[in-house]
Amino acid sequence: MAAAQAGDARAYDRLLRAALPLLRAVARRRISDFAEAEDAVQDAFVTIHQLRHVYDPTRPIRPWFIAITERRAVDRLRRRGRRAGRENSLEDYRETLATPEANTGEQRVAAVQLRAAVAELPPAQRTALALAKLEDLPLAEASRRSGMSVGALKVATHRAVKTLRRRLGAEDLD
């Protein structure tokens, strides 16, 4: 550190890299979260850099590093505690906006998924579903408009509904 105080960048680089395992051990002893502990180590390095003129070379450097890292780790824990006290989990608040129209996101997503699933059906099933279920036509009228027999229309509608139930995960709920 005495060399670093005199401006020797290579000595400073060697010193900081040699101190890294010590600083990580000190920070992780205080903070269980890996990323938070690494942030505390970085805070400690910045403080060491800012206070390098304060260090007295006649004294051991290890307690100096440890004290600074401990202080930065405690600061991190305090900041995290304050942040946690101010925040609420969004999971508890499904409705985020005051107007009812603004909270229809999930319904819109479901409608898009249904339209996509219908579009992927074979043409015969899609036509049968549209006439027999969506337009709710009598089977004879649907048969006349589609050109399919009543039996084929019933089978195609049944298969279309089954395919949609499978694709949209409804069968998992049964």
Binding site: A6, L51, W64, I66
Partner: protein, 218 residues
């Protein structure tokens, strides 16, 4: 940014730095300045109040409490200088607490003795604006000078440095004013010198942070 990159960045911008003097030297320098300023303030106060300089050391109670406040001030500046260094023990905090407790205990004991001797009169503290204004007017700039000298303490123990710096300034100013303006009732000293010291510590805590070095992070 990962830690290795941070180290590389810190190393790349390295410039030589001038090493700070030891905490003992820093404390001694401030103490010399503070004693000069407090003495000048006391002389001015004496001249304003009586038209001539009067060093009044006739009251043993006053002398004893002035000595204890001086010890408190010396202990506080010494502790602040050492606590501003990260690796120094937190037990330095005890150094001014011992004379401070003795100072307050001594005044409390004298207050009880005054009450026993004089009755209800001793319960009412007299006004002592001269001492309060001297302690605040001289103590505040002295505390500011100390905060500037110990600004590195802001990155490690800011609250201790701020409180002890203000306590040191208040205690030394209290000593100086006591020697030119002796007060016979302990209640007056305890109330007004105590209030001035508490106010100075509060101001130091609120305003002094701006003078300390704050840790800036990447």
């Amino acid at each position: 940014m990962n830690t290795e990159s941070l180290i590389a960045e810190l190393v790349s911008g390295l410039a030589p730095v001038r090493r700070l003097p030891s905490p003992g030297v820093q404390a001694a320098r401030w103490l010399a300045l503070a004693i000069c300023c407090a003495a000048l303030a006391a002389v001015s106060q004496s001249l304003i109040m009586s038209g001539r300089f009067n060093l009044r050391i006739g009251l043993p109670m006053n002398n004893a409490q002035a000595a204890l406040s001086l010890l408190t001030g010396i202990g506080a500046v010494w502790a602040a200088a050492f606590l501003a260094h990260p690796e120094r023990s937190g037990r330095w905090l005890l150094l001014p607490l011992v004379p401070l407790a003795a100072w307050l205990g001594f005044l409390g004991w004298h207050w009880a003795a005054d009450v026993a001797r004089l009755g209800d009169v001793a319960l009412k503290p007299g006004m002592d604006w001269a001492c309060v204004t001297t302690i605040l007017a001289v103590g505040l700039p002295l505390a500011a000078v100390q905060y500037r000298a110990l600004r590195h303490g802001g990155a490690v123990r800011p609250v201790a440095v701020l409180l002890l710096g203000a306590l040191a300034a208040a205690a030394l100013c209290s000593t100086a004013t006591s020697l030119v303006h002796p007060v016979r009732l302990a209640a007056t000293i305890l109330t007004w010198h105590g209030a001035a010291a508490a106010m100075l510590m509060l101001l130091g805590l609120v305003l002094g942070r701006a003078l300390l070095q704050r840790p800036r992070f990447a």
